[in-house]
């Protein structure tokens, strides 16, 4: 313990610098198949969130982020639209149903599908420096 009155310098653990990834890079990092939006792979992604419960997306995501989810029905796309999610990645080898794909096409939301588990998909993106969308929000608030 430092004596009273002495200023103690606390060294912060260094965090990886925030990065922006293109959707093409996300596709490569997660080994994705592109189901909707092949022409939108140049899109820039600066943050991501992951959830299977859509109310959590509505509560914690911030606009323009990437959503990783295992929910394959049309509500996943509707939620993305309402929450202004920029692009969707379905994980665990899940494929969105026909209704979801059609809605994504109508709304112009790119859809990717990865065989990875949620944990690994998030981990890979995080290691590449992609920030949590929710973390960014709480810092700004």
């Amino acid at each position: 313990m430092a004596p009273k009155g002495e200023v103690v310098e606390v060294k912060k653990k260094s965090e990886p610098a925030p990065v922006i990834l293109t959707l093409r890079e996300v596709k490569e990092i997660l080994g994705c198949e592109v189901l909707v939006g092949k022409e939108q792979l140049g899109m820039e992604i600066w943050g991501a969130c992951a959830a299977d419960l859509m109310s959590d997306v509505l509560a914690f995501s911030i606009p323009d982020s990437l959503l990783l989810t295992g929910l394959v029905n049309a509500q996943s796309v509707r939620t993305a639209d309402v929450a202004e999610i920029k692009a969707l990645v379905y994980i665990r080898g899940k494929r969105p149903n026909a209704g979801a794909l059609q809605l994504a096409q109508e709304k112009g939301i790119p859809v990717l599908a990865s065989e990875l588990t949620m944990y690994e998909a998030c981990g890979r993106l995080y290691l590449r420096g992609l920030k949590s969308a929710a973390t960014i929000r709480s810092k700004n608030e």
């Binding site: 419960l53 959590d56 509505l58 509560a59 029905n73 049309a74 939620t79 309402v82």
Partner: protein, 148 residues
């Protein structure tokens, strides 16, 4: 007061119809965007109405969503005929949920619905009668427009 009303709309929501859930909110979202409301306001309206729609679909037989917008504020009233809420105080707690497994499989029932609506509104009123239904009134201030 309502002379400057921009929109006065009414939508019916059918209970149990998950495929339709969210149609009203996405429609309202594009209408408000087109009119030129602030993006943050549009998002708050979209999230509140979406959560409210989902609640009607999950817990009621039918519901009506009334939507009124002026340049200053947006008022959304959702009334449903359904099972109602036994303990509103509990239902307002984040994470409290009476959802079934089937609802969770649809991606809902995280116990965030009502808290989410409240968080996105400037005024929030809820009344409910068990066995009859629930009424929500949500007000969202749309801008710093004239206060007179």
């Amino acid at each position: 007061m309502s002379d400057d009303s921009l929109l006065d709309l009414e939508f019916e929501i059918i209970g149990g119809d998950f495929n339709q859930a969210g149609r009203v909110s996405t429609k309202l979202k594009s209408i408000l965007k087109e009119i030129g409301f602030d993006a943050q306001v549009v998002r708050r309206v979209a999230i509140s109405t979406y959560e409210a729609e989902i609640n009607v679909v999950m817990y009621a037989r039918r519901g009506v969503l009334r939507f009124k917008a002026s340049p200053q504020k947006i008022v959304i009233i959702i009334e449903d005929e359904g099972q109602g809420i036994e303990d509103i105080e509990e239902a307002m707690k984040e994470g409290y949920s009476t959802a079934t497994d089937e609802m969770r499989e649809m991606g809902f029932g995280a116990g965030m619905g009502l808290p989410n609506i409240k968080r996105n509104s400037d005024q929030f009123e809820i009344t409910s009668e068990v066995g009859k239904g629930t009424r929500l009134e949500v007000t969202i201030i749309a801008g710093d427009g004239s206060k007179s």
